[in-house]
């Protein structure tokens, strides 16, 4: 019985015959490990004598395969043609392309969240504009090998979560599944359906010294990076526009287009399947990619909290109630997808998701549990498995691997520790270079391996091939070892390979993992294939599809958009208010009514929850207000509001055009630690954002929520202003300067003068600010808009509660309209009463709206 397992020991993976980098004179060569590790310690040497004038002295590294330069020093044809397209000065062209690419990354706010200790921060996406060029014939054989591998893993996963024939036969050692924490028992039987287990598969591949492609790692559970690969293409295509036009590069369009249709077909229960992309949320390292993919696929980007399971069916919580979901494109690790049946500590999942999958009511891409076969230990058995499962030889080799669970392999590992890379069989630990360990460390590791041999693998170390990268310090091309992640997706009964890839190299020249987290740089990959340009160009993805049925807007998105509107308005009003204080210090007319100017400055403090000190002169109050604005600890300060605006912008970004992304980036800069927001500069950005929001967004339900937030906040800010400047118990009727100040701070002075030339009467001013239908800053104007927007929101879920909400807006409108006709004897007392009443109404509006639409589907239907 154990033969299959023992069979693979000496050369467990059908490893190719020894090549120059593997066993011949290994000691002479700088050794690195394949796995996920590469070394560039010996890379970046001074440029050697020039092999080609157009390459400015570029040369490969000894003992490694180089993509651009053949061992005899000549340029490979595909690279030679590429350099010709760069014009007379290729170095200058590449330098310019690099700058262009960097600008695009910054402008489009492409980011990668790097986990660093407690906080995480977004860093600009690292991209080298020099593409990796591959010949189509080379690519085809790699593709064939990867397709075979995808089919093999799909079959193995369906068996592991199905009949388990390969466990029973011993082809896969029992412990690889049964002692594997990523084998999810709750998902047993999920492999039995007709649908593929793997919808998306990715492999990290590298080039061995003899020029063959090697698989370093298989990505089965959540193959990340596809969105970045598509984005890289858009940027590099733009940065190297002439070269791209002149080079027959295979297009990504068909692959990207087919992705959506193949996802839809995963669930054949529904005529028009509803797809969502499940993301861990903005804190995840690849959140940018999730927003990008959701836009590309035209599906809602959701988090666990947006979904709920009832009757073994997944639903999306929307402002119109629950909408069924048929297919989930999953970017959350399997283990975290369902706190009920999987890891109970997870806050990212959806309780009941496993059961919905078990009931066949929802299709997951990929199906839950795929990580079980990401274990490096499996590589020791892949060759024999491929023969017995597919009846074929495994086409692509992987690094020779020994799994300690077998006594012979364990002894081999222990005897060869210094020569191997030691990897935990089931993750949880970093891979270790045996050679880099001290004698003591090595002994400790040996004890650990002896204690639990099945938990460890040994893997041979292989030199990674290099490719030209732009080296900033020397302003020239240098060779760097690289790995390439290739994506395959299920389509029409087989796997389709994306003709392009996410290539990565390590920029810092140290032994380190080529992980996006650990500072590697990415590249676009061009498959050069004369005569295969039939495909269209990859389009820029649209802003996230706004559903035609407005009621299908996800509740959490509506919530974010509403708060985006509120913080946008609040930040804009507050910065405008602060901006208007400074000139008061220089304005002689302040002497007409110094109290009015002080009240405006006091209000700036009160709006930021900062009680103004008594007896402070105007200049002191203005200085205090400015200081308060930059106080990050005070939640009501300008900068705190700005940070909340940025956060909501992050969530809502997927709905906004690229211009808004650039503003999002700048606003983050204003809110950054140490920066003090300058009201004038901030105002300019906010004004642009306001105009985008007002003029370019589709007026769909999501936009309505944003507008409701803005209108409600504008009404509130106006009421605060009226109360702060005109409601002063016991004071005489407000004088002309005070009335002017109120109009000025309400952005209504200019329009008022046009309508009431030369006169400032309390009745006129209040009419203009409160009850006039034509002043876009008046309370009535806001109430009318609120009424209009609320009337378009879905009512079917809770008709009575909706009616109450709309009535509240009507009462606000009524109050604003009727304010004019009331007698105006004691202005102060009336304004105090009026603003108090209306602020209570706006608070009620907010409460009702939140309960009705943002309760995320837990609203009890009221009838």
């Amino acid at each position: 019985m154990g033969y299959a397992a023992v069979f693979g020991l000496a050369r467990p993976t059908d490893a190719p015959p020894p090549g120059p980098g593997r066993s011949e004179k290994p000691s002479r060569q700088p050794k690195t490990c394949l796995g996920t590790l590469i070394s560039t310690r010996s890379s970046m040497p001074p440029a050697s004598s020039s092999s080609s004038p157009s390459l400015a002295g570029y040369a490969g590294l000894p003992g490694r395969h180089d993509e651009a330069v053949a061992p005899d020093g000549t340029l490979r044809p595909v690279w030679a043609r590429f350099f010709q397209t760069l014009g007379p000065d290729p170095v200058a062209a590449l330098r310019a392309a690099g700058e262009q690419a960097r600008r695009s990354v910054v402008e489009q706010d492409i980011s990668l969240n790097i986990y660093s200790g407690e906080g995480s921060s977004a860093a600009a996406w690292p991209l080298d504009a020099v593409p990796l060029l591959l010949e189509d014939a080379d690519w085809s054989s790699l593709s064939d090998g990867l397709r075979q591998r995808a089919r093999l893993f799909n079959t193995l996963l369906k068996d592991l979560y199905g009949p388990q024939r390969h466990l029973r036969s011993g082809a896969i050692p029992a412990a690889l599944a049964m002692a594997n924490p990523h084998y999810l028992r709750a998902c047993a039987d999920l492999g039995r359906g007709r649908q593929p287990f793997l919808h998306l598969y990715a492999a990290d591949v590298g080039r061995s010294p003899d020029g063959r492609w090697w698989v370093l790692q298989d990505r089965l559970d959540v193959p990340a990076g596809l969105g970045y690969a598509l984005q890289n293409r858009l940027i590099v295509r733009h940065a190297l526009a002439d070269s791209f036009r002149q080079t027959p590069v295979r297009r990504l369009y068909n692959f990207a287009r087919d992705l959506r249709s193949s996802l839809d077909r995963l669930n054949d229960r529904s005529e028009s399947p509803r797809l969502v992309l499940l993301s861990p949320g903005p804190a995840n390292e690849s959140y940018f990619e999730h927003t990008y993919l959701a836009r590309h696929l035209g599906c809602p980007l959701v988090e666990g909290g947006d979904l709920t399971v009832r009757d073994r069916q997944v639903f999306l919580r929307t402002v119109g109630g629950l909408r069924p979901v048929d297919v989930v494109l999953r970017r959350v690790d399997s283990d975290f997808c369902d706190p009920l049946e999987l890891d109970p500590r997870s806050l990212l999942g959806v309780p009941g998701l496993v059961d919905a999958a078990q009931a066949g009511r929802v299709a997951l891409a990929n199906q839950l549990g795929a990580r079980a076969l990401e274990s490096p230990a499996l590589l020791a058995f892949l060759g024999p498995l491929c023969r017995s499962v597919l009846g074929e030889e495994l086409r692509l080799p992987n690094a020779a691997t020994w799994w300690g669970g077998q006594p012979v392999a364990r002894d081999y590992i222990l005897a060869n520790l210094p020569a191997l890379v030691l990897k935990p069989a089931f993750a949880g630990r970093q891979a270790l270079y045996g050679g880099a360990l001290s004698e003591t460390e090595r002994r400790a590791l040996a004890d650990e391996i002896l204690d639990r041999p099945g938990a460890w693998c040994g893997q041979e170390r292989v030199l990674l091939g290099t490719t030209p990268v732009w080296h900033h310090p020397s302003d020239a091309l240098r060779p760097a070892p690289f790995v390439m992640r290739v994506y395959l997706a299920w389509h029409d009964g087989d796997y389709q390979v994306m003709p392009g890839a996410l290539a990565r190299f390590n920029a810092d020249g140290e032994d380190a993992g080529v992980s996006l987290q650990a500072g590697s740089v990415s590249k676009d990959t061009w498959i050069v294939a004369p005569g295969r340009q039939g495909e269209g160009l990859l389009p820029n993805p649209p802003a996230s599809a706004s559903s035609r049925r407005g009621s299908a807007t996800p509740s959490r998105l509506a919530d974010s958009l509403y708060w985006l509107g509120r913080y946008l308005e609040r930040t804009a009003r507050l910065s405008a208010h602060l901006e208007k204080l400074d000139p008061l210090l220089r304005d002689d007319s302040v002497s007409l009514d110094p109290d009015a100017a002080s009240d405006a400055a006091r209000l700036a403090l009160e709006l930021q929850d900062n009680p103004p000190p008594a007896g402070e002169p105007l200049s002191g109050l203005v200085a205090l207000a400015r200081r308060a604005a930059a106080d990050r600890r005070q939640p009501a300060s300008l900068v705190s509001n700005l940070l909340r605006l940025s956060r909501n912008l992050e969530v809502a970004k997927v709905r906004l055009p690229p211009e808004a992304w650039d503003i999002a980036r700048r606003l983050r800069g204003f809110g950054a630690e140490g920066a003090s927001p300058l009201p004038a500069a901030l105002r300019a950005q906010l004004a642009t954002l306001e105009s985008i929001v007002g003029d370019t967004l589709a007026h769909d339900t999501g936009w309505r929520f944003l507008e409701i937030g803005r209108r409600l906040e504008r009404a509130n800010q106006l009421l605060f202003l009226l109360r702060g400047l005109l409601a002063r118990p016991g004071a005489a009727a407000p004088g002309e300067f005070r009335l002017q100040t109120a109009l000025h701070f309400a952005d209504s002075l200019f329009t008022y003068r046009a309508v009431f030339p030369g006169t400032f009467h309390p009745a006129d001013v209040l009419a203009w600010l409160v009850s006039d239908a034509e002043n876009p800053r008046s309370l009535r104007f806001q109430a009318e808009r609120l009424g209009e927007h609320l009337a378009t929101l879905p009512a079917e879920l809770a008709p009575r509660a909706t009616e109450q909400l709309r009535n509240t807006a009507f009462r606000l409108l009524g109050a604003a309209r009727l304010a004019e006709s009331e007698p105006l004897e004691d202005v102060s007392a009336r304004v105090a009463r009026f603003t108090g009443d209306q602020l209570a109404l706006t608070a009620a509006l907010h409460d009702r709206l939140s309960r009705l639409y943002f309760a995320h589907g837990d609203v009890e239907p009221d009838e």
Binding site: M1, G2, Q164, L167, R168, S169, G170, A174, A175, A177, M178, A179, R185, A186, A188, T308, V309, R310, D311, R312, P339, L340, E341, P344, P351, G352, D355, Q358, A359, R452, D858, E860
Partner: protein
Amino acid sequence: MPLYRIQHVTSYRHEAPAASAWQTLRLRPRDEPGQTVLDFDLELVPRVHDLASRRDAFGNHLHVFSVRESHLEFHVAASSLVRREAPERRERARVTLAETPAATAAAILAGDFALEQFRHPTPHVPALPEVKAITAKLSPSLDLVSALEELGDIFARDFVFDATATEVGTPLAEVIRNRRGVCQDFAHLYLACARRLGLAAAYVSGYLRTEPPPGQPPLVGVDAMHAWVSVHVPGHGWLDYDPTNHCFAGDDHLVVARGRDYGDVSPIRGIFNGGGAHALSLGVTVSPVDACVLG
């Protein structure tokens, strides 16, 4: 062949209303050699509308449902009628303690691959160096059945049953240090020893009859769910042992679920939307039924 009626009532009391909840139950006793479930009934209050059931990876019955109405309390009443035969007593095993690991490995290679999962550390039964001191006391030349009994003797001598000593989350290392625990701790610790010895050993959750047969002393663990272990004896099959009561399982041990540790068989798991902290109360009665009454 005794017949038992089992009533198992569990109540959640939240400090604030829970808007909704999702729960799994493993309360239906297993159908297995020596045990037949004649009737099973679940009563859930408030009522649920999507009660579904399936078998989990260990063959246990799993119920899954959601509660959609806001609720302060939730009640689960499970009622089972089970016929139980006394397991065949085995005085000696054909293998010694020392031979068992290799014999188990052979069984795994021969196709019984699922045995493998019962030989490894699990979240509730981590690999603890302290366990060595216990297992070292067993003579490798003992036959496996006698070895299991002797391990039970060590438990009876060195560990004290104390209902107040631990909670569900108490780590095993602490149980070893304090030398006291409840049936769940005894089971986990016994599993740690058995697995250290290279045996395939499983966790069993179930019930004991509440009132002892006339003339016999009552067993420990009668007023709640009980836990014991099951060890794979090569050439024979699974053999259930109750380390809390220092005996092999008899016809008054009623099996509900089997798994690698408590985490695989927890009778009730719930995720609540709101609700704050909750208090849990449960009551179990297991009474013999006169077969004649049933007719």
